[in-house]
Symmetry: C2
């Protein structure tokens, strides 16, 4: 049975981060580090229960989500999380949390996984923090405030660098259409980090090619961070992106450097084969 | 014009590393950090000359390779490098170096790039060091000595986690055959890091699906590290993997957790469509 030997650094959380979000991030990182120190890869990946989103939950997710729930209780804010679901403390503030984005990476030891949290006030996303668990790097943005991040500004798909979810069968043809027009294709298997790379201008776009894999917590941080950096977040099928306690809802998110590129990705993904 | 804002940590080089290899790694990391501090993404990626391997060379590659060449001159060992080619000091020791593996990632700011160096004595690879430039993590192995790395031990392709080079046109059908049988597919665009993840048991295999993109420096570190960890390195077309100053030679490398899995990948990639 094999343990993952790499350390988990402290998160570098920017000043001014909402206290509940900052505490939740610190708690998530500490729980993640503890889980890796105590459990083998197989134990981390073991599916131990059914998550609130209706998909099986790995032990690693539960351990991190439980730590986040304790923070939420202490701060008396609400929680909307992939695994635990809804905790309602009657606050106007809800933390929308993906405790471990890229769980399969994280449990295997592929160093691409993130904590992603959003502060929603009366259902509107106002602040986002994405923390790369394997390095402690954080991306932070507040809606309506200037951000240091700037997308690449690319408007055309031909020749773009595009990250995609792996093909899921139902979206194979659409996946391939985009892969053939992009000059670079990556599959990093961590939606929140891939969105952060779009925000900071390291890649042009990221998309679920149409498999409807995304839950709102996979996209919520991008919804704050990417428009602030000049980009856009859309759904392939035109559904509005909404923070909703109904965790059975799914989207095929498209996160792109500009609205033009997002729209071209959507139209390319929706073409009839 | 945008700079990449993230720091480049010092490499964590294990004790006992060959002094020329350790110095080359330190010099490469320092040059990489300097290049990122001084040049924008566009400047780093600018193709400034033709490399010794016959492909255009980015400014970032040149800056790092030049730093490595200075170390080689100081230690009076030979160099075999993607960009500069051969430096012959008449030594029995040759450093086989990929100065920046995953250059496109590195120049764009996708934090997945590596320095990979191998010590070859009279043409035989004896020691390998792969350093993840964005975090300072290093993987080190010496041929014939025990290693802390252990592959997953997986023998079957069905359900495996496989990293692939992006499809290149000529190998589209083969790429798709493997993608459909694997349970997870990743494209990280950095061969040396992907091989290190196979060695340490974080993923089951990595392959060039048949595009003949690999040069010997893309595979040399894996040739030391992966067999020591229980895995195997093969070429899709059965060509012997040899350290050769002829840098026009190409391979389609298959790096896998076991010989059985490597052979199944080769036979799957070679099937007639």
């Amino acid at each position: 049975m094999s343990f993952i030997g790499w350390p988990v650094p402290e998160p570098v959380i920017p000043e001014g981060t909402h206290p509940a979000l900052a505490d939740a991030t610190r708690a998530a990182v500490a729980a993640f580090a503890g889980a890796r120190a105590k459990h083998t890869r197989a134990d981390l990946a073991e599916k131990v229960q059914m998550g609130a989103d209706g998909t099986p939950t790995m032990r690693l997710d539960i351990l991190v989500d439980t730590a986040v729930a304790e923070v939420v209780d202490k701060h008396r804010v609400n929680l909307l999380s992939e695994e635990i679901g809804v905790i309602d403390h009657g606050s106007s503030v809800t933390l929308v949390v993906d405790p471990v984005d890229g769980t399969a990476n994280a449990a295997a030891g592929v160093p691409l996984s993130a904590f992603a949290g959003v502060v929603a006030v009366d259902g509107v996303a106002t602040e986002a923090l994405t923390c790369w668990l394997d390095t402690g790097r954080c991306w932070h943005a507040v809606a309506g405030q200037p951000t240091p991040y700037r997308t690449t500004g690319r408007r055309e798909l031909d020749g773009a660098a595009v990250s995609l979810l792996r093909p899921h069968g139902s979206d194979d043809a659409a996946w391939w259409r985009v892969a053939k027009r992009a000059s670079r294709v990556r599959i990093l298997s961590t939606s929140c980090l891939e969105a952060a790379l779009v925000a900071e201008g390291s890649t042009d776009a990221f998309a679920d090619a149409g498999s409807d894999t995304h839950r709102i917590m996979d996209l919520a941080a991008a919804m704050v961070m990417v428009p602030a950096a000049g980009g856009a977040v859309l759904d392939v099928n035109g559904r509005p992106l909404e923070i909703d306690p109904d965790l059975t809802r799914r989207w095929s998110g498209v996160v792109a450097a500009t609205r033009e590129l997002a729209e071209e990705l959507v139209s390319t993904l929706k073409e009839k084969p």
